[in-house]
């Protein structure tokens, strides 16, 4: 794993996106975050919540009702726009393409899940490198841990929900045990942390 450069702690970095992974018991945590993100939030948010495969956009509609920002269950090749919340549709993996669009896929399940958190996080790590923040919330799955490691290895900021505050502590705990989580926070702290993230200046060349 690459060490962070001195003076380049995540708190002083600029960000281009937030990615979130949630599974069993994650709905309340996700809804609290969506409810709290303010209208002027500049980053795109991409969420994988493990859903029943019959979910027909009901979950996204539910979040749209609490969110101040537009909530989208994207189609394939949808451009990613700041201040929009993208929810992976049931039955599809959601990935980020290098040109800043969303790609969906019906490849086999990963960690018994489609959508898979690892698939989103690993593609986000490639797209945004150190300029992405990843959150891993409540769940009974180990999905997301490989993704958190990829984000951390690319220099991004990794946050896990404090396991004893999660309905299902297993998923955040597994991520934490991997050693790739920067911060372990309650939902209130997570909200404060991500709403305080400094957006990267658009189109600026990313530091290599």
């Amino acid at each position: 794993m690459r060490a962070r450069e001195i003076g380049k702690l995540p708190s002083s970095a600029n960000y281009e996106a937030v990615v979130i992974g949630a599974s069993a018991g994650g709905f309340k945590a996700v809804a609290a975050i969506f409810d709290a993100v303010p209208l002027e939030f500049a980053l795109p948010v991409l969420l994988v919540q493990h859903l029943h495969h019959d979910d027909d956009g009901a979950f996204a509609a539910h979040l749209a009702a609490v969110s101040k920002l537009p909530v989208i269950e994207p189609c394939d090749k949808e451009p990613i726009v700041g201040g929009h919340m993208y929810i992976a549709p049931a039955g599809y993996h959601m990935l980020v393409e290098q040109n800043g669009i969303i790609a969906l896929s019906t490849e086999e399940k990963v960690n018994w899940s489609r959508p898979s958190i690892d698939m989103l996080f690993e593609s986000a790590a490639r797209m945004w490198g150190e300029r992405v923040t990843a959150l891993i919330l409540s769940g009974a799955s180990s999905d997301g841990t490989a993704g958190i490691q990829a984000i951390r290895a690319a220099g991004g900021l990794t946050i896990a929900q404090k396991p004893d505050t999660a309905e299902h502590p297993f998923m955040p705990q597994t991520a934490i045990d991997s050693g790739a989580v920067d911060e372990v926070l309650t939902i209130e702290e997570i909200i404060a942390r991500i709403t305080g993230l400094r957006p990267a200046i658009p189109r600026r060349e990313r530091k290599k």
Binding site: P74, D76, L95, E97, Q98, S105, T106, E107, K109, R126
Partner: protein
């Protein structure tokens, strides 16, 4: 270098470009225009199974070892589907498309990217129940000969058919789903009467041409594996293949919006992604 994991992403991008170029020039299969994030991931997965130490290290093997190439292509042919996936789509086909298909004396249907055939049999069952099967021809195509062989056989894991049964009922099925297959041990063989009007053949949407005079084209969750350019190529092919008033059915998360052919179609059902070809108005 023992692993590509820690190397710079831009170096990996070069290796992947060269690998895809080598495949194209050696075998004619064009994966250069596939959706990049997915194909890169497939290549990485194959790399860890291949015994090679780097992606560029796979290039000589791909060029000289046909069996190695076949194994790699198996990793690219990945879409997982099931019978009557998205049951509501089949219901819309019954309600909004079938009545118009009935007005043609003979109907030709193209199922592009049929993979292992689950959708072909779903469609055959639907046509049977709607009394259209006998005057239909279903062309089921895929670039992968291996997938086509599976599709032609029509033998599926019995456990999978339980989901299919549930889907079939939600899709407006009119009989008992078990009438359509023969169960033996853990496998179910699709009934031979479903196969008579299906023509399986090899067709590559990245390279091959028009498949003429179709009344309905089904291409669901195939275009998501293509980049924009290749999507436009395939969609232009479909548009040129459809008769006037013919139908195009895409995956529920695929849209004609922002594509080169959007002005050629009317939306029949937005949610089911069913479109009807009209006059192409220049936009």
């Amino acid at each position: 270098m023992t692993s590509t994991k820690n190397q710079k992403p831009e170096f990996e991008a070069i290796e992947i470009d060269l690998l895809l170029e080598a495949i194209f020039r050696r075998y004619g299969y064009d994966f250069r225009s596939y959706a990049r994030a997915s194909i890169e991931r497939r290549i990485r997965l194959f790399l860890s199974a291949s015994g090679c130490s780097s992606i560029s290290g796979m290039i000589p093997k791909v060029i000289h070892d046909k069996e190695f190439f076949s194994r790699l292509v198996r990793y690219f042919s990945v879409s997982v589907t099931e019978m009557f996936r998205d049951p509501s789509v089949y219901r819309v086909v019954r309600e909004k498309v079938v009545p118009l298909l009935k007005t043609w004396p003979h109907i030709k249907i193209w199922l592009a990217g049929c993979a292992t055939g689950e959708e072909v049999y779903s469609l055959a069952i639907l046509l049977k129940e709607e009394g259209l099967y006998e005057r239909a021809t279903i062309y089921a195509t895929d670039f992968s000969d291996e997938a086509l062989a599976c599709a032609r056989e029509g033998i599926y894991d019995l456990a999978k058919l339980q989901d299919a049964t549930r889907n079939y009922q939600k899709a407006g099925g009119k009989r008992s789903f078990s009438e359509y297959y023969l169960a033996r041990y853990d496998a179910a063989t699709m009934d031979a009467s479903l196969k008579g009007k299906i023509v399986f053949s090899s067709h590559n949407l990245a390279m091959d041409g028009v498949f003429g005079d179709m009344h309905l084209i089904f291409c669901r969750n195939v275009l998501i594996y293509f980049n924009r350019d290749l999507q436009n190529r395939a969609l232009t092919l479909f548009t040129d293949s459809l008769v006037h008033g013919g139908y195009l059915c895409l995956g529920t998360k695929e849209t004609l919006q922002f594509t080169d052919v959007s002005h050629c179609y009317d939306v029949v059902d937005g949610k089911a992604r069913i479109y009807k070809k009209g006059i192409c108005h220049e936009s």
